[in-house]
């Protein structure tokens, strides 16, 4: 695995350097085109400035913007122990070192993505649609894929490539605009003096300005697709069970839902192309076609990187992994499927999502349960069934653990859905599958001990 990372780093360096060369060449040629006989250096300077601004924007942008835009909520171990455990397992299997934070997004479309500029600052985001549909092995495969992205430093790589691409596109825009504005007059006046060299530079500049962005885009998307295959191979190696990921991909691709908050820029980090309902394919797609990915995974004869490479060659032809990483790949047997854990039902996933999103549940006298999101602007809400105006209790500020009042208990009375009121007024609900011993009130932060029912 370590070889693969080294090979990736080398490849990233090569790619970034070649894109940088294209950028600088474009800058120089463009400068020469617009202000011949010395404009080249200015053009180069402009190129570097454009790139610098893009990098500054990238560096300054906190990761949380994307998470906030997606309304992702961080979940802790108590909220969803299975998901948390799976992320932990994959962290160990990959040797990542730091456990990424786990976020949940309330979206029926099943998808997952990974974020992380550095290992200590990374995150894995999962939608509730995914939790509902996949069993433990499949979830493990998906999380393995995302952690594979993190381990291979794909996020940094794709963002750097995106910055480069953006700079090239912007620069060619600038050149085109300047040409249209006044360049023609300038070049006509100077071409009388410059002759052949000027013409050559003009041609090169025009070619770069037109083809540069196109080539850069093709390169970018090709890299993105390659990284996806690599993450698939990593997942198979970590879980030792490629069929898990394959069946997860099958389930996900069958659902024709698109994720609401995805955009072109954030697409590469999802497990399946979120922008095309059918999975998207072609030269300008960030993800390889899903059927192909599934076919490769299902035809693997072992769980190692060399098995993936062989399956890739058989299914598609060509190679995807670097020879250095294959050198020490060895052969790894595929493990048996684990006893499938139950697939979480819709109600339970909704429960987890509501806990993560800190929804307040009010019970009206007519029996309707109303979920009020955090930060609801008004202080009362009208029940839609009977019309009663219900006051929304103002929650006490979160109690810090230093000033915990006398511990609170609640004794369960059975195995069904139960609800009770915390002292702050918030109603808390317990699902039949809720198995933790403690519960933290979402409103005031008090720790409540859940006692098992006094059984017969």
């Amino acid at each position: 695995m370590w070889e693969q990372i080294q090979a990736n780093r080398r490849r990233s360096a090569v790619l970034i350097i070649s894109m940088a060369l294209v950028l600088m060449l474009l800058g120089y040629a463009g400068g020469e085109l617009l202000a011949p006989g010395g404009g080249g250096i200015v053009g180069l300077g402009v190129a570097l400035i454009v790139w610098g601004i893009q990098m500054a924007i990238y560096a300054a942008q906190p990761q949380s913007l994307l998470l906030q835009g997606a309304f992702a909520r961080e979940i802790q171990k108590e909220d969803s122990p299975q998901l948390f455990n799976i992320v932990e397992e994959m962290t160990i299997a990959s040797g990542l070192g730091f456990m990424p934070k786990v976020y949940l997004v309330d979206d029926p479309a099943p998808n997952a993505f990974a974020l992380g500029r550095s290992p200590s600052n990374s995150a894995v985001v999962v939608t509730t649609g995914l939790l509902q549909r996949l069993n433990r092995d499949e979830l493990q495969g998906v999380i393995g894929h995302e952690i594979g992205h993190l381990k291979n430093r794909d996020v940094q790589f794709m963002t750097l490539a995106a910055v480069m691409l953006g700079s090239i596109v912007i620069l060619s825009e600038i050149i085109w605009r300047s040409l249209r504005v006044g360049g023609r007059a300038r070049s006509r006046s100077s071409s009388r003096g410059g002759g052949q060299a000027q013409l050559f530079i003009l041609l090169v500049a025009l070619l770069l300005a037109v083809l540069g962005p196109l080539l850069a885009q093709l390169l970018y998307f090709a890299c993105s697709r390659k990284r996806e295959y690599l993450a698939d191979a990593s997942s198979a190696q970590f879980t030792r069970y490629p069929q898990g990921l394959a069946s997860a991909l099958e389930k996900i691709s069958r659902t024709p839902l698109t994720v609401s908050f995805a955009s072109r820029a954030t697409a590469p980090m999802f497990i399946i192309n979120p922008l095309a309902a059918s999975g998207g394919s072609g030269l300008f797609s960030t993800h390889p076609p899903t059927e192909e990915r599934i076919r490769i995974l299902r035809s693997m004869s072992g769980a190692s990187l060399s098995a993936y490479e062989e399956a890739f060659r058989r299914t598609r032809g060509g190679s995807v992994l670097s020879p250095q990483s294959l050198q020490s790949a060895g052969t790894l047997p595929i493990r048996r499927p684990s006893d499938d854990g139950p697939i979480l039902s819709r109600a339970d996933v909704r429960f987890i999502a509501n806990r993560a999103n800190r929804y307040l549940r009010l019970q009206c006298n007519c029996g309707l349960v109303i979920s009020v999101p955090e930060g609801y602007p008004q202080s009362s809400i009208r029940c839609i069934r009977c019309g009663t105006e219900l006051p929304i209790p103002t929650v006490a500020p979160p109690v810090t653990s230093a000033s915990e009042p006398t511990p609170l208990h609640y004794q369960r009375t059975g195995k069904h859905w139960e609800s009770f009121r915390c002292v702050c007024g918030r109603t808390l609900q317990l699902s039949p599958l809720f198995t933790a011993l403690h519960l933290r009130c979402n409103g005031c932060g008090r720790l409540i001990t859940i006692l098992p029912p006094a059984s017969t």
Binding site: M1, W2, N85, I92, G95, S328, S338, T435, A436, S455
Partner: protein, 189 residues
């Protein structure tokens, strides 16, 4: 005449420099891989310890419902104590494997007690233990992968010279005999 000599000397110096750089690179990579192996080993330790810590809780929970399955419960406790006391890679691997066997028989016994199966703390502990088993498995897997990479590096041609020069020794794998699930684990002391 002398300029040719200078050129030859420069070329030679360049070659030696490249050689030194390569030696440094190979040595560093061996060190890095060896550290990864050690790190992976300590990770196994962490997960095994975690499993040992979860077991008393599990036994207490089961006792609440199936008190007369004392034999199975005692086996689990004994196996756990043995696993804590084991030293050395081979012995530990065996002891841990044995502990897994006793846990499997405990969960098999629990199938007969529907009240126990419905108990939330038992379910939670079961998920925790399954997850810890998985984590031990993955930690072992990562350790073995690291050992494989390290050993390959030590043995393949150019780097094995460096490895021998600086005494990098091959590591042994953490082998655990995978018992087939149909075989009833023999609980013997």
């Amino acid at each position: 005449m002398s300029s040719i000599l200078v050129i030859v000397l420069l070329a030679l110096a360049g070659v030696i420099l490249l050689l030194l750089l390569w030696v440094a690179g190979a040595y560093n990579s061996l060190v890095r891989l060896r550290n990864q192996v050690e790190n992976a080993w300590s990770q196994i330790d962490v997960q095994l310890k975690r499993r040992h810590d979860l077991i008393p809780n599990l036994v207490e929970t089961v006792k609440g419902y199936a008190a007369h399955e004392r034999a199975t419960l005692e086996n689990v406790i004994k196996a756990r104590n043995m696993a804590i006391a084991a030293k050395g890679v081979g012995e530990r691997a065996e002891a841990e494997n044995f502990l897994t066997g006793t846990l499997k028989s405990l969960f098999a016994v629990a199938e007969a007690y529907p009240n126990l199966k419905a108990d939330q703390s038992f379910l939670r502990l079961q998920e925790e233990l399954t997850s810890t088993e998985n984590k031990v498995g993955f930690a072992r897997q990562f350790y073995n992968d690291s050992v494989m990479t390290f050993n390959t590096r030590c043995e393949t041609f150019p780097t094995n010279i460096i490895a021998n020069m600086f005494n990098f020794t091959r590591r042994e794998f953490f082998e655990v005999k995978e018992e087939s699930q149909r075989e009833a684990p023999q609980v013997k002391f």
